[in-house]
Homo-oligomer: 483 residues x 2
């Protein structure tokens, strides 16, 4: 890449959509595929998704989840079977109609989600209470034929995700499962991606079709829109009844299982990029960055050897301490070019070493998010780097947290809701009667909807009267524009 | 599962096909999906595939490979583009023709392999010699609409695999890449799966379409058929020319890259099951077994407490030593049932503990493959278990190696080739002129073909005259029936 191609030309503040697309492409996270709605995830992007998978998959396994793999195709008759309980994904399904030169007897859907192929097997595998809890998960890609503009990781016809499907003996256990997974999603966002989230449930009219309750973590993007970060559904017994997921309990009685499902997609990767990155390119928290530290030697012909030797020592010490470190000793690039390139690629911490540093037995540390500089003694190197990585994580989390805290506002009238969202974006908390019609009043005026209702209605209550219809308020709604 | 359902009823020796299907289902490795040709990989099976992925993916990354993800669909016009160099997968492609209620303008193939979608991006990303080597890999599933009977992991319309695609500056480097990956496949089979393999190349007429050379590792199954374990292709410059994968070298000259591709599918999982398992069920080498050791306490009411405490101590010691160990302390099952169940599931080593063992401060170790029993002092437990696990790995490898060594035979006449394969199966080595017509002579009589030609023709040469046509022999052909 030439020097001028490195620069991000769009502004995050003024044209966030174009800026996001530019960062994704120039930092080599993803490219557009020839078919609209599809992307190619490049190694830098896939490494981030793999890191997220590693964290989440580890937590899943620690808490009893087993991975499996179900076919990517679902016969049309199987999809039909769930129509009693759900509206179905028909309008969004990609259909396989031919195998080789022959037309298939029955069309096959490319999975839009896998309930309808997994549930029949859960039924088959669940006979006794000893078979429960049954916790299945798969990492795969799914396809939904939505006719929208492509936005890498946020809107793509094919997307990667994990989908968990579990069955339990009791409502209590299934609820515990639902919240365990929501906790793990929150942990991924907050501890790994440095993105604070709000927890709650979707309003009744916006639940996953067939679910008893849909819980969600919501993240606020810097442009004021909310991202549904992941959802975890308590499905009650409706899926188990439809798919005959029953078991014989300890008293030899047949019982219907309580089921859950829960998923997180690569949208989390989109949220990561959008939250922290800036007009110099990608910004990544050290927890997830494939390279946490890059060492850039600054040398001339005379000092090359001593600087190189010094930086190799630094690299080895950090490597030994478990820091993911690279030494950029390319001769054909100058330090300025290297600085720009590593900033674009989001390496959290840069170590600069010139002959002065070698002489003084020091190093210079530069934080990616804000360019803050620190000197450190060579002897304290590992400590200084670990402190710096923590500081960088904290900075990123705190900035995102401030953005979230400043952008939850209250409103008590339709005009106030509309005005606040129109002016500031973010979340508008408002007392709500629970009726979808009141959401529609707002939705018809502005592209905002109720993205979340807090779990604890009483604690979070801010008024007695629905801000829209003035009937009794039953809960507190969070309105926002969303991705 | 009830006691009688646990047993394998088919015989590996007399009905290997039925036996294999029964082991796969009863050990809960996989189930048949409702659509012919598709399977559901259950948690026990997926855990094995994940373990293989972990090994191989680690080696790939240590040797410069980066993972990426390309779309699962390929536009028909893209598939057409490679027709100049390859025969194409047309007759085996599943076609998506509709998205929701609308017919697509251009049909999309569900990827049968991804050269035609990956190569155009390799072209785009390769500009300078600094961009090389470019090493991409993806773990995904692919679909080939072959009209054959379903055999889990061996013959399925959808199968999981990894496909690596690389570009290099020189033939030498590309060749090194090709053999590096073949070495890693061999290492997976031999060191992880305890299956010895033969290395070589496919005959000219059976190369990957468009390839310069296809290299292969072949494993001999106990029923005398060969499994193509994995292939690694040196593609020469043909794909690079067709897809314009060129770069500017150090002298500013445009050059065509040399490319490779290489893949291993979940067929390796099928080979693992088929090689070691027996009429009691699954047998797994300790390297890959999710549970390496199961402790089965043998108690009555009076001794339950002391035996339990003793076995918990054993469990904790082994766990701390890094052994993957389970304590089967279920009260509702008797020891005999537990023995059968863990044998069915292929746990390599069983530790039996009754009150005599507690009294004598001993344990009894039982090897899964052959039921060999050893006493060990409680104090030497960890050492004894590690020795046992090594012994079990060696036993499995040695048995497979013996089978391989005993089943490579020489033949110098068509009737001898046919007779030997018909009678014994296995490999028949024979001098060969290199002409496909001579293979056809054999193929027309018996379902056997040339599965491999050794790399070193001279060293491996066994005669001067082609066994079939009596022209000059150019190489040594290994005939076998194959999966």
């Amino acid at each position: 890449m030439s020097e001028q191609e490195l620069g991000i030309t769009e502004s995050k503040e003024h044209s966030p959509g174009e800026w996001y697309a530019e960062v994704v492409q120039k930092a080599e996270i993803a490219d557009y595929a020839p078919m609209g709605g599809f992307i190619v995830t490049r190694p830098r992007g896939w490494a981030l998704w793999e890191a997220m998978q590693d964290h989440l998959d580890g937590w899943f396994k620690e808490t009893g989840v087993t991975n499996a793999y179900f076919p990517m195709f679902i016969p049309e008759s199987y999809l039909e079977r769930e129509k009693d309980i759900v509206e179905g994904f028909d309008p969004e399904v990609a259909w396989v109609t031919h195998g080789g030169h022959n037309e298939l007897e029955e069309r096959l859907a490319v999975r839009p989600t896998s309930e309808s192929i997994i549930a029949p097997f859960m039924s088959q595998w669940t006979r006794s209470h000893r078979d429960l809890p049954l916790r299945l998960n798969q990492w795969c890609s799914v396809v939904r034929w939505e006719a929208t503009e492509t936005k890498p990781f946020f809107r793509t016809k094919e997307f990667c995700w994990q989908e968990g499907h579990t069955a339990h003996e009791s409502e209590e256990e299934a609820w515990e499962e639902t919240t365990t997974r929501l906790d793990q999603y929150q942990r991924l966002y907050e501890d790994v991606l440095a993105i604070p989230v709000l927890r709650g449930r979707k309003p009744e009219h916006d639940k996953f079709p067939g679910a008893d309750t849909t819980t969600t973590v919501e993240a606020l993007m810097p442009d004021g829109k909310s991202v549904q970060g992941a959802t975890s559904h308590y499905l009650g017994t409706s899926f188990a009844e439809a798919f005959d997921i029953t078991y014989v309990d300890e008293s030899e009685e047949e019982q219907v299982a309580h089921t859950t499902s829960w998923g997180l997609s690569w949208r989390a990767l989109g949220a990561l990029i959008m939250t922290h990155s800036d007009d110099q390119g990608l910004v990544l928290p050290p927890t997830i960055a494939p390279t946490q530290v890059v060492i850039v030697p600054i040398w001339d012909e005379d000092t090359r050897e001593e600087v190189l030797e010094y930086t190799e020592g630094i690299r080895d010490d950090l490597d030994e301490a478990g820091v993911r470190v690279d030494l950029d000793d390319r001769d054909e690039r100058n330090p300025g070019f290297k600085f720009n390139e590593h900033e674009l690629n989001g390496v959290p911490l840069r170590i600069e070493v010139g002959s002065y540093e070698v002489e003084d037995e020091e190093v210079t540390l530069v934080d990616r998010p804000d360019g803050e500089r620190h000197e450190a003694d060579r002897d304290d190197l590992v400590d200084a780097v670990e402190t710096a990585l923590d500081r960088i994580s904290d900075k990123l989390y705190e900035t995102a947290e401030e953005n979230l805290e400043e952008n939850v506002r209250e409103a008590y009238e339709p005009s106030e809701i509309l005005g606040t969202i129109g002016r500031y974006g973010g979340y508008v908390k408002t007392p709500w009667c629970g009726d979808e019609a009141c959401e529609t009043v707002i939705k018809d005026e502005i592209a905002a909807e109720i993205v979340m209702v807090p779990f604890d209605e009483d604690e979070d209550a801010i008024g007695d009267e629905c801000a829209i219809c003035e009937d009794d308020a039953e809960e507190t709604a969070y309105f926002a524009r969303s991705y």
